[in-house]
């Protein structure tokens, strides 16, 4: 850790701290989005930043995701480091064209004469009874876009370090925040009392500036039975399910989807010979498909069993049936059994 002095933070506080650190050391960093100014964001991620850094550095925008990304591109091309918040990933689509056709293309189109070093923060995933429009995980719609980087932390420590890396990156970065993890790790069972980051070691966040690099997985557990690839909320579900299933798994928190740490992934799968892939997003054309394809390409001759994907269903995210949709421990354990050849 770059900095010995640490502070216990939940994920929202860590994200806020990353912006605060960057705004303090670099006047080119601006933060804006719907309700992010005076109010501090519907999830409080920007609380206090306007008061501390000024109205002109942390402000509300009109309800226009396309406009938000559009001004971010213009600002970034003009030398600033905008950090834009999209209130829910489910509402990012009006800005999709500006992200995919413009932010991700500007450097290429101008052969490097202009670029768009911007960061887009947005909460993803279910678990809060948000239904079809407050629960989506659209990462795969962005990993298909050349010129864009897509990352997703699973804990406060990574969240702060990765957000600082994102803001300093000279290419556009989509920073996905698993909203179910804001207050604590979530092991997939909504009926057990929720755990907070307060006593969790990954809630110990260094003060000041430090970076967590993109393209490097975080290994949570060293095991030889199988490899579990997960990111965001599913990292914690994986841990709980592996324990419950009594398997000794290599659990990799991918953290960065594009760029992807395929080296670490294939090294692990070559060791274990079995691979389980988890995500909350709908299955078809989800990022698990790309992972499955790349793992098979890299580790075919080491695979002892078919790669198994455990995902959300190919339906919108239902409201009342939220926990039937969510790929919880039961579904993951079934996946583990399947990949272990027990069923």
């Amino acid at each position: 850790m770059a900095n010995p002095v640490t502070k216990q933070m939940n994920m929202i506080e860590a994200i806020r701290d990353a912006m605060d650190v960057k705004m303090t050391e670099d006047s080119d960093v601006l933060v804006f989005g719907e309700d992010v100014g005076y109010f501090g964001g519907v999830f409080r991620a920007t609380a206090g930043l306007q008061e501390k850094h000024g109205l002109h550095r942390c402000f509300d925008t009109p309800i226009s995701e396309g406009g938000i990304v559009g001004i971010a591109i213009g600002m970034a091309a003009n030398g600033l480091r905008p950090v834009a918040e999209i209130q829910f990933a489910d509402y990012i689509y009006p800005g999709y064209d500006q992200i995919a056709s413009e932010a991700a293309r500007l450097r290429y189109r101008s052969n490097g004469e202009f670029s768009a070093p911007l960061t887009i923060r947005t909460p993803v995933g279910g678990g809060i009874y948000g239904g079809t429009t407050h629960s989506q995980s659209p990462e795969a719609l962005f990993t298909h876009i050349a010129g864009l980087k897509t990352v997703i932390p699973s804990n406060p420590y990574d969240a702060k370090g990765m957000l600082i890396t994102a803001i300093e990156d000279n290419d556009p970065v989509l920073f996905l925040e698993p909203k179910r993890l804001y207050n604590g790790p979530f092991y997939g069972d909504p009926h057990t009392p929720s755990v907070s980051w307060a006593k969790h070691e990954l809630g110990e966040v260094p003060e000041g500036h430090y970076k967590v690099p993109f393209g490097k997985v975080r290994k949570i557990n060293e095991g030889s039975d199988l490899t579990i690839l997960a990111y965001g909320t599913m990292v914690w579900v994986a841990e709980a399910a592996a324990k419950a299933a009594g398997v000794n798994a290599d659990i990799l928190d991918l953290r960065s989807l594009l760029p992807l740490d395929i080296e670490a992934i294939s090294e692990s799968v070559k060791k274990t010979g079995r691979c389980l892939i988890l995500h909350e997003a709908t299955r078809t054309s989800g990022f698990g498909a790309e992972l499955s394809a790349q793992v098979a390409e890299a580790c075919f001759f080491s695979l002892e069993a078919p790669i198994v994907r455990v995902t959300g269903w190919d339906t919108p995210y239902p409201h009342a049936q939220e926990w039937a949709y969510f790929p919880g421990p039961k579904r993951v354990i079934n996946g583990i059994r399947k990949v272990m050849g027990d069923i």
């Binding site: 309700d35 109010f39 000024g54 109205l55 002109h56 299955r283 009342a320």
Partner: protein, 413 residues
Amino acid sequence: MTKKSNQSRLYVPEPPFRPGDTPDYSHIAVPANHTPPRPDPLCDDHETVEHATSLIRVMRFNGDVVGDWVPELTADMKRKGLRDMMLTRAMDDRMFTMQRQGKMSFYMKSRGEEAVSVAHAMALRIDDMTFPTYRQQGILINRGASIKEMMCQCLSNAGDRLQGKSIPVLYSFRDFGFFSVSGNLGTQMIQAVGWGMAEAYKDSDGIASAFTGEGATAEGDFHYALNFASTYRAPVILNVVNNQWAISSFQGIAAGEGETFAARGCGFGLATLRVDGNDFLAVYAATQWAAERARKGGGATLIEHFTYRKEGHSTSDDPTKYRPENEPEVWPFGDPIERLKTHLIKIGEWDEGRHAAQEEDCKVEIRQIYKEAEKMGTLSSATNVNDFTMFEQVYEELPNHLEAQIEAFKEEL
């Protein structure tokens, strides 16, 4: 107010008052007799340019009615309007409380805006399709949809016609001309234009009426709606409910240097009306005018309903965190229920006693209905929704890959 933003030349608008300030809205003139004239509904759009920046009002605060826009409404209809608004408010209060008790995941009130939805619905035909936001439950109440079914939708229980698929208040009642409410802001404005174009194409005289909050006018869909409605002279009413707030953002974030939201329609050659949204009779009159214009082939009208969101955005926010606690009280346009009540009493068609009784009736009725609804399940107990229904209605017919996923799901049970 621009103090802070002057730290640089980048200007960022701020609301006049924040928590701790004493709100004073005396600068907002409440026009008494300055209501603009009522042109023929088939007039040239230029004749409504002044209406985009002035304010159509019918009722004075003392209950008198003045001006060209006084609608012909029987006392019975006015009383029904009053009752619908009171019922809507009673339901909102009940559901809000029940949400606090964990019976449902979420709820959104329309307090202060009841006239917009109820009077608007009353001035339309029931087969005119409305494309509401989450704050026009008054349309359903006015059109006689089942309140129990509405409650069951919020409870996501066995009585929910949507079988738990959607979050609370995103109702869908096709038979009551109430289009499925989207959680994505703004999107339905342009869909309503398409619906209206289809009516015209079919040579029917049906129309569509779409709603957006003032905040969501910043979305592209609002622009598309104005543009396509203008190009194809679509028989639609485009309603902007300016309730001054978009969650924590004051209307100036969306309005910018623009004076009114109605004025956004002028550049498209649309008819534009701006109405006191707390004035039941004015909303009725403006809607009636726009509906006649659309029905007779005169094309679309953009109506700004100038009102105020008296409560938090939803059960998820505390408004005192971003605006003065007493702002709703000092807001100069009063309360829609109080104002219609005052008018009815003034014309001798109502009295305090009946009003108090009716208020109690509504409470009781709502409580009764809610009891019935809750019997069918709640989020905190069991919703009684069959989990397998989540695989239905993705497509008309179940595709193979979903059949396989149903099998996989069975293994979890």
